[in-house]
Symmetry: C2
Subunit: 247 residues, 2 copies
């Protein structure tokens, strides 16, 4: 146990921020941390768009439907970036067969996601809080348009950062035994049975957080989420193709 | 600056490990850290396969073509796991339209990738070193077979961990100005020009690491990588569909 791990085990999503900017020198350090993250085949196939413009924030806020996206002192959008490397090879006068293949897309997606989490850990170690915005993917085409993302790029996730103006409870997770297996994938005889205790723990957590609603456990939450589909989000792979990737 | 960030800025890939196991109590803490990582819509759509079996290691080593995959004291394979949540909803007697849609796949991929990096940071904070194995994706179908991955699951990346038996130089990255943009994606007039300094830095780095080879800078490395395609890896999206996802 050390301070790094203590902070990681104490991770909570922060959605309310103090009206206090993050120093430019800190942002610069956070970008250096992202930059030092492992990267597949040293290709560095991701980029970060730091969204400062108020109008852009408003538009992205509409897409995500989360008001705190507009309010977070910093908003970073991590993207798959195979454009840079494609241009590097084109400038050398060669048509490169792999510059936008399926494998490059996956490589860039993993690169960008792990860089984002690495930066997030660094931020939290400095007392900064944050929230992931998967919700920017509610309208991927609009995000591409707003951020002027060229071919061979694709948005992965957004990250809002700022000094916390709330101190939420730790959100309980299911036991690691249900998600860490040895050698082979392990199915459960009954998931409802295996998750019985977690259902109780989570429903108590939600109950304490908002006493005005009837609250479900995990298994009911999963059922509810899997009953909803956002037609825009189902277009993901057709948009990835439209961005020039050969899937 | 603090210890967390110092360690992150000092990240190097470790490929040679001491013959010393990682204590079970430490592994348990690392899994707790992964478990506390942010997760899209609280769905926890990923799992971890910890590969201990020697034969499995050998088979995975053949796929990745990296001998140190077999030698790392710990090998963790992170997977998209939408199977668990699909079963949770099926057990409740309902056919859930979203249980294996494109959006769920992306959600699980992001969840798994960020959990992996979070665990990796915790490991490094304890003096453990590690290496990502994107190379397990050289033969995705075989990985699925070996780890008995059910429908609605998919391998993301492997992570090897152990106590370092080497102290490699820090591998330089391109300047953050080339990958962090404000508000809009920023194209370069000439990438070869913008990357001139980095080309020199990286070629010096490679030169020091292995004096027996002629070494290229970054832009030549990119060109070389983009000239190669592994036919197996191009099948990624057809295999994702075969695993039951509606892309």
């Amino acid at each position: 146990m050390n301070q790094t791990i203590k902070t990681q085990l104490n991770h909570r999503t922060i959605r309310a921020f103090k009206d206090k900017p993050i120093d430019e020198s800190i942002m610069s350090t956070l970008f250096d941390v992202a930059n030092q993250t492992s990267t597949s085949m040293a290709m560095q196939s991701y980029s970060i768009i730091r969204v400062k413009d108020k109008n852009l924030r408003k538009e992205l806020g509409k897409i995500s439907n989360q008001i705190y996206l507009e309010q977070a002192p910093e908003l970073l959008i991590f993207i798959v970036d195979c454009y840079r490397n494609a241009m590097i090879s084109e400038e050398q006068g060669l048509v490169q067969p792999a510059k936008h293949d399926a494998d490059r897309f996956i490589q860039g997606f993993t690169d960008g996601a792990i860089a984002c989490q690495n930066l997030f850990v660094a931020a939290e170690s400095l007392g900064i809080g944050g929230v992931y915005f998967g919700s920017i993917l509610n309208n991927i085409e609009k995000v591409i348009e707003l951020l002027e993302l060229p071919k061979y790029t694709y948005p992965i996730v957004g990250l809002g950062l700022g000094y916390p103006d709330q101190d939420p409870e730790l959100k309980p997770r299911m036991k690691t035994e249900l998600k860490v297996f040895t050698d082979k994938y392990k199915k459960q005889d009954s998931y409802l049975e295996s998750l019985k205790d977690y259902d109780k723990i989570l429903s108590t957590y939600y109950d304490l957080r908002d006493t005005s609603k009837t609250v479900a456990g995990f298994t009911e939450h999963v059922k509810n989420v899997l009953n909803r589909q956002n037609p825009n989000r189902l277009k993901a792979f057709s948009i990835i193709k439209k961005q020039g990737f050969d899937l």
